[in-house]
Amino acid sequence: MLAFALGAAAACAIAVSAPATAARERETPGTWCGGTLWRLMTLSDPQRHTVQLQGTPTTIFDISKLQRPPRTPQTRSTTFQRHVWRLRTVIDRYRIASNGEIVLILYSIDSAQYMNAYLPNPNCLGPRARDRTGMIAARKQLTEQCPVVRPLWQLLGISVNVAGVGFWNPTNATRGALTNGAELRPLTNFQIVNGCGIG
């Protein structure tokens, strides 16, 4: 009985302590923020200083034309990854991922193409993250102006000016992904032009 009680207590203790540990782990940046590439996703990688923060104007169509690297880069090794790209677009849908990241599906009116962009979880932005302020402000712009982000996809339909760092996603099967896997991740600037009560 005692043993059962101890076992039950231990099990309860484990059951109680496991979420607490996970919660503690999520307060500090780590792989939970995006797997092995989480540093690239949060501009915390060792080559983060090679990124040109001044936004370079582009379009989704231009990005879709980029040649996907034969192997997904594990480091910031391509020109696309070393630039902040700036464009005007429409956000079709958005949702919040399990790691707290907000996923945006961008839509190009002119080329009828979709592309994904990400606003990282502020908890994933450690002191080493470059342009941390810009990333947090971008996320705040969306969360404060638009309806609450939910885990499920929601229609949004707002016109925005966004800027983000180029990122090659190993998978392109997710909703809204370009066929070449190119994404803007993380977004460093976010400005609503029209929608969410603006314009």
């Binding site: 079709d92 009116i109 339909g157 016109s159």
Partner: protein
């Protein structure tokens, strides 16, 4: 001279006179023409500027702003409709080809808005309206982009789009209203432009009218007055030219000095008298040109006949006359050096003649008085001596009077010459003999002549007087005694009579002057030599009228030789 110069305001420059009337008339005409020219230029400039302004204003406001704005604003409405058509078509068909009107309308609308912003720049009302229009166009674009995105998203999105399209929040209506309002403002802008141009037009016409009125007034005035003025000016110019021409030919030096005491006119006689060209004199201060200007003016004021002036280190005597007029003074100067010398010689003669006459008269008077009062007490020898003295002095008086008479006859040209056969040898001997009788102590009169001298034709009386004068002169100037030789030489064609003395001699500079009337070598009688100053003058004149010559060779301190040459004539 003063009569030749008008006593009115005169302005003279250069050698030629320029009379004030002509100058004033010319200046007035020049001023009037200059004013007219300025007015005409002003009229032309105003017309030109006004035309350019009107053109530019019209071009700026109508061609470059108002009309394009109106067109662009209409185009905005069309583009909005085009966008709406494209979006609605896409919503119905979900075919992207239906979006072509939207893309075209969107791009054109953006271009139109850029152009509208440029045109309304600097025009506050239109600028504000443009900002609203741009914001509304942007909002509409966002709305359409939302719908397009929803349609592209699939069924859920399409349903959402259809819901929203029914309630576009009045975006299209607002932008249409804004564009329409903007058109109204553009119309107002055009009306304001028209009013501004009308004002410019009226202002320009007024300015042109005023300037034209003045120009026409001046032109009419010139047309009425210039010919008469010019006629008068030419007349005065001609008058001045004639006066100037007359002054060019007068013998007196005439120059005009203005109120600033600068020389304004300088005639040729002045050039000659003062030795300064008109080009150098005119415009210069008169005191720098005529050193004795003050003396000349003062002498003229005091009525003095002669003023001594030093020119080139020589003393000249000028007779000035000064006439003043409003613009300055006219000074006429006559060179009276010769007249002054003659006047002075006359004065000297009066003094000398008085002395010459008084001396023998005193002797005659004294001798006669003595004989009358004490004749009985005198010895026969004494009475004889007194009578001789009276006789000699009377003869002396007679010679002096004869000289005066002959001089007067020469002056009047009434000297009578009675020619006859003359025995010159006999005549010379007679003169020498007579001279010995009155020769001063220590003076010996000698005679030298060929044994035979053929007679010549002459006036014996006049020739005698010449020889007596020459011999008397020789004796007078032989103050230290010596021989006075009367030498007769008989040449083939002429007879020469030399009167030679070893006396004082005559300085070279005076050798010609001694033949001048009243000239005396010892004028102040420093050597006690008297005389009327007429002897040699009369002698030369007589010999000349007899057809001969009287010449002189002399060395100061060694004596003189006067030679009378008389030609032999048939």
């Amino acid at each position: 001279m003063s009569a030749a110069l008008p006593g009115r305001t005169t302005f003279l420059r250069g050698r030629r006179f320029r009379w004030p009337g002509a100058v004033l008339a010319k200046r007035n005409v020049q001023i009037a023409f200059a004013t007219l020219l300025v007015l005409l230029i002003a009229v032309l400039a105003t017309g030109f500027i006004a035309t350019v302004n009107l053109y530019r204003s019209g071009e700026d406001r109508y061609v470059h702003v108002a009309l394009p704005l109106r067109t662009l604003t209409r185009d905005v409405l069309f583009r909005i409709t085009q966008e709406e058509t494209g979006v609605r078509g896409y919503m119905i068909t979900t075919n992207r080809a239906s979006l072509d009107p939207y893309f075209e309308g969107r791009d054109e609308l953006a271009a139109d808005l850029v152009r509208i912003r440029q045109l309304t720049n600097g025009r506050p009302v239109l600028e504000a309206r443009t900002r609203v229009l741009t914001a509304e166009a942007e909002s509409l674009r966002g709305f359409y982009d939302r719908l397009i995105t929803f349609v592209a998203d699939g069924y859920v999105g399409q349903r959402q789009a259809r819901q929203e399209v029914l309630n576009p929040a009045g975006k299209v209506t607002r932008i249409r209203r804004t564009a329409t309002a903007m058109q109204g403002e553009i119309d107002a802008f055009i009306a304001a432009t028209r009013a501004a141009q009308h004002r410019t037009y009226i202002t320009t016409l007024s300015l042109l009218g005023i300037a034209g009125f003045f120009a026409i007034t001046i032109a009419m005035s010139l047309l009425l007055r210039v010919p008469e003025r010019l006629r008068r000016a030419y007349a005065e110019q001609e008058e001045g030219a004639q006066a100037s021409l007359a002054l060019e030919h007068v013998s007196e030096a005439v120059f005009v000095v203005d109120v600033d005491e600068r020389v304004r006119y300088w005639n040729p006689a002045a050039e000659q008298l003062f030795g300064i060209d008109a080009d150098h004199a005119v415009g210069q201060p008169v005191r720098g040109i005529v050193v004795d200007y003050n003396e000349l003016v003062e002498a003229a004021d005091h009525g003095d006949a002669f003023v001594p002036v030093m020119i080139d280190a020589a003393e000249r005597w000028f007779a000035p006359v000064v006439s003043e007029f409003d613009g300055g003074s006219v000074i006429a100067v006559r060179d009276a050096t010769a007249g002054y010398a003659l006047e002075r010689a006359r004065a000297d003669f009066v003094a000398t003649a008085s002395h010459e006459l008084r001396t023998p008269l005193t002797a005659v008077y004294g001798g006669a008085t003595t004989l009358l009062a004490r004749g009985d007490d005198l010895t026969p020898m004494q009475r004889q001596r007194l009578l001789r003295m009276i006789s000699d002095e009377s003869e002396h008086l007679t010679r002096i009077v004869d000289q005066l008479l002959v001089s007067a006859q020469l002056d009047r040209g009434t000297l009578r010459i009675d020619e006859s056969e003359c025995d010159v040898a006999e005549l010379c001997a007679s003169v020498a003999t007579a001279a010995r009788a009155r020769a001063p102590e220590g003076v010996t009169v000698a005679m030298q002549a060929p044994s035979v001298v053929a007679p010549i034709r002459c006036d014996e009386s006049l020739l005698r007087q010449v020889l007596i004068n020459l011999v008397d002169n020789a004796m007078k100037y032989s103050v230290d005694g010596g021989i006075v030789l009367v030498r007769l030489r008989d040449e083939t064609a002429s007879v020469h009579i030399d009167v030679v003395d070893k006396g004082l001699g005559i300085p070279t500079a005076e050798q010609e002057r001694i033949f001048e009337k009243f000239f005396r070598l010892d004028a102040d009688m420093a050597r006690g030599v008297g005389g009327s100053g007429l002897g040699l003058y009369i002698s030369r004149e007589i010999v000349t009228q007899l057809g001969g010559t009287l010449t002189l060779r002399s060395q100061p301190g060694r004596g003189s030789t006067f030679t009378v040459m008389l030609p032999r004539r048939a």
